[in-house]
Amino acid sequence: MGLPTVQFLGVVGWGLLMAWATDAHATEPPVTVPEGTFEHAVLLDRDVQTEWVDTFRVDPRPVSRADYAAFVQAHPAWRRSALAGLFQDGGYLKHWHSDLEPNGEPDAPVVHVSWYAARAYCQAREGALPTLVQWEYLANLWRTLNEHSDEDYANAVFAWYGEQRPTALRDEALGVSGFIGPVNEWLEDYQLLLGNGDQIDFGGGSCGDTGRLIARYDSAHYATLLRYQMRSNISPETTASNQGFRCVYP
């Protein structure tokens, strides 16, 4: 996958925007995720253990640097030299060679993008960041369809956050990949607000509080809790070297 050829022809203005929008979709068409029931591993609300998820479409893998370059080409306000400190921490696209030239492999996931930037990208594609429930539902499907044991899943997650290189797990289901892989992914509502009956956000979501809220006390649930917790701790203007995203569409 690379930049759509048409972008190198010097097409400007609406032509470029339209070419980007259509070609990007043509290159990496979103994948349809079937509707189903999501079982919460982390009980954000004491009374909600399962919920229904409607069908949605999702990018098959995290957004690439080439895709993101096309976005900033079409939306100058989101170029590195233009983006204000309100929406990033100072490290936005810091390794790019210039405003429009990504570093590394064009196919590699874009990183060093803040939550605000990730959302702007998805909005420009008439999509949105996945909700926490959508992404976790998809991750559960990914585990099931790839037949990853709870133990293998847990080990992969712990390795991701630990010293080792992430354990290589088969990473393909429904034509969607990139889970517990190169990047942690931004979500629309990634910041946790914890409810326990009448009490809302009773512990501020520290590890000790969430620990009593996992549905089962096994390693896979702990692994998921760890992911929720670490993700929630990232402030939205953060631009980290292992933080990327993908979009969903109605």
């Binding site: 030299s81 100072g90 390794h95 990232i234 402030s235 933080q243």
Partner: protein, 214 residues
């Protein structure tokens, strides 16, 4: 309404060090810098809009809010006025009226000159139920309909953006309401966040001071 029964609200500002730990622990490069330092060796050419306001100004948020008086307002429209901001929703019966009272207490504690120019912005989480008409009814119910008051609704995306900028966490609950943290923030005349407190029935002194600094 569960959302209304807010207790034990805790400050949910997270340490930025976690993100550094993430970057460092996974074997990728970890030159993450936090804070608003400029990129070294890079020229900033801010957009014209950006150049008129400080780097951290919320006036850069282009969201258009529909107020209970049927007006369309952006944060930039309120430039030159300090703004007290909170987020709530009309069908919330316990916590949200307290938030309104808290805003009212801050307003009443302001010196008169400050009071006359300070805008009060109360943005709803409930983008479906809280139409401008519903918010107008709400403003009457809580007796907060003076010129300074702006009960407002907007798109779900813009509500999420504002909440994130203000450090407000919320989630729709199964009863159709919203669980949320209770935050009151003060923006100065340039749109910078100069005060923020969490919880109900908090002392007004710091918020008053923040408004008066400007």
């Amino acid at each position: 309404m569960k959302s209304a029964k807010l207790m034990g609200v805790a400050l949910a500002l997270w340490s930025l060090t976690t993100a550094n730990a993430l970057g460092a622990d996974t074997g990728h490069d970890h030159h993450n810098h936090h804070g608003h330092d400029h990129h070294s060796g890079m020229h900033h050419t801010p957009l014209p809009m950006v150049s008129q306001v400080p780097e951290g100004s919320l006036h850069q948020l282009d969201a258009v809010w529909q107020t209970h008086r049927g007006e369309a307002v952006t944060l930039a429209d309120l430039a030159g006025r300090p703004v007290i901001v909170t987020m709530l929703y009309a069908s919330c019966t316990t916590a949200c009226p307290v938030l309104v009272q808290d805003v009212k207490r801050i307003q009443q504690a302001l010196p008169e000159a400050q009071r006359a120019r300070t805008a009060l912005l109360l943005v709803s989480f409930d983008t479906e139920g809280d139409t401008p008409e519903a918010l107008n009814q709400y403003a009457q119910n809580v007796r907060a309909d003076g010129e300074a008051w702006h009960f407002a609704t907007g798109s779900a995306t813009d509500v999420r953006t504002l909440a994130t900028l203000l450090g407000v966490r919320y989630r729709k609950n199964p009863e159709g309401g919203y669980d949320h943290s209770n935050v009151i923030a003060v923006l100065n005349t340039k749109g910078e966040l100069v005060h923020r407190h969490e919880g109900l029935n908090q002392p007004v002194t710091d918020a008053v001071k923040a408004v008066s600094l400007d």
